[in-house]
């Protein structure tokens, strides 16, 4: 008898019920050929109803510039809305579809943010059973100012290692693919990632993951390492 938690690099269609909410924070170190970055992200979702969630994501960014002075500041702030559009529940399993809209807003006079606002409409699907979890997403990223738009996609498989009990004590393994296709440039960027998640209480988990590029034509990214926690408050 098993159960497992939300994927690490991919989104989940599971909302946490009316008035439910929590906090997720993780540190993400990305190694690049020229300039590496560390991003500490804080995300706070809140459920207005059992099928409607709003949330805010604020990253704090440090760009390491070698011998030069590091750039430090707030990255783009993101607001999001998730709406459960389809749900099919069975004993110990569920299939759900969520429509998610994200809007990131750049701070003016900020040298660590994206420098432009980005809109992202995403369709998130998940088939989650007590024995495994299968998650996927596909989305369209609108980038203004004449920059090319993107198609985003992801696929994740989660597998729990320990027998289930509640309150839980669980270790989950994740294998994930995430990628984006940039229109106009016809560039493909695909990451493969692996992660492990420890659920130590019904409201707390700690997770770590490593993401490396599988197909990487023009990006200089070598790898991304993640360490984070999730805590349910409400």
């Amino acid at each position: 008898m098993f159960a497992q938690g939300p994927p690490i690099f991919t989104d989940s269609p599971i909302l946490l019920g009316l008035d439910g909410g929590g906090i997720r924070t993780f540190g993400k170190y990305s190694s690049k050929e020229k300039r590496s970055t560390f991003i500490q992200v804080v995300a706070v979702p809140y459920n207005l109803t059992s099928d409607l969630q709003i949330g805010i994501v604020q990253p704090f960014v440090i760009q390491f510039s070698g011998k030069k002075k590091n750039n430090i500041g707030l990255g783009n702030i993101t607001f999001f809305v998730k709406h459960l559009v389809y749900k099919f529940d069975g004993i110990g399993k569920t299939f759900r579809n969520v429509l998610k809209f994200k809007q990131s807003i750049t701070y003016s006079n900020n040298n660590v943010g994206a420098g432009f606002n980005v809109s992202h409409l995403e369709f998130v699907t998940g088939y989650i059973t007590t024995k495994f979890g299968l998650y996927s997403s596909v989305g369209y990223v609108y980038v203004p100012d004449g920059l090319p738009d993107k198609l985003s996609y992801s696929l994740s498989f989660g597998y729990p290692l320990l027998p289930q009990k509640y309150p839980p004590y669980q270790i989950n393994l994740f294998g994930e693919f995430t990628g984006e296709h940039t229109f106009t440039l016809k560039n493909e960027l695909i990451f493969i990632s692996t992660g492990i998640q420890f659920i130590t209480a019904s409201t707390f988990l700690i997770e770590t993951g490593l993401q490396i590029p599988l197909i990487n034509k023009i990006n200089t990214l070598k790898y991304t390492a993640l360490l984070g926690i999730r805590y349910l408050i409400f």
């Binding site: 008898m1 159960a3 497992q4 938690g5 939300p6 599971i14 909302l15 946490l16 019920g17 009316l18 439910g20 059992s50 099928d51 459960l84 749900k87 529940d89 069975g90 004993i91 110990g92 399993k93 569920t94 989650i128 059973t129 007590t130 979890g133 289930q164 509640y166 309150p167 839980p168 669980q170 659920i199 019904s202 409201t203 988990l205 349910l232 409400f234």
Partner: protein, 101 residues
């Protein structure tokens, strides 16, 4: 004589405590709720939280495999099936049968 009086008081105390406890147990009712969609620990927490907001819930256990929530309620008359179903729906799951002992 004092010792006998003390022992008498202790025995009386034990007798009445036990008697009250039995009365309480008698009032407790057990309810089984069949819930569909329970597939992760955080999901179960959402359900637990919603059900515990209802009055008179004394104890709760969740069996993922069978999709059953076991509730012990102090006075079952005060929680209707409709309230229980609504709590399950509010936590994002699908309620099925409610069985009262």
């Amino acid at each position: 004589m004092k010792k006998i009086t003390y022992i008498g008081f202790i025995l009386l105390f034990i007798f009445f405590s036990n008697n009250n406890a039995q009365t309480d147990i008698g009032k407790n009712q057990k309810i089984k709720i069949e819930v569909e969609g329970l597939s992760c620990p955080f999901c179960a927490y959402g359900l637990e939280k919603k059900l515990k907001k209802l009055d008179n819930i004394k104890n709760m256990e969740i069996d993922f495999k069978k999709g059953i929530v076991f509730l012990t309620i102090q006075d079952s008359k005060k929680i209707s099936d409709e309230q229980l179903k609504q709590a399950v729906i509010n936590s994002g799951f699908t309620p099925k049968k409610i069985i009262r002992d």
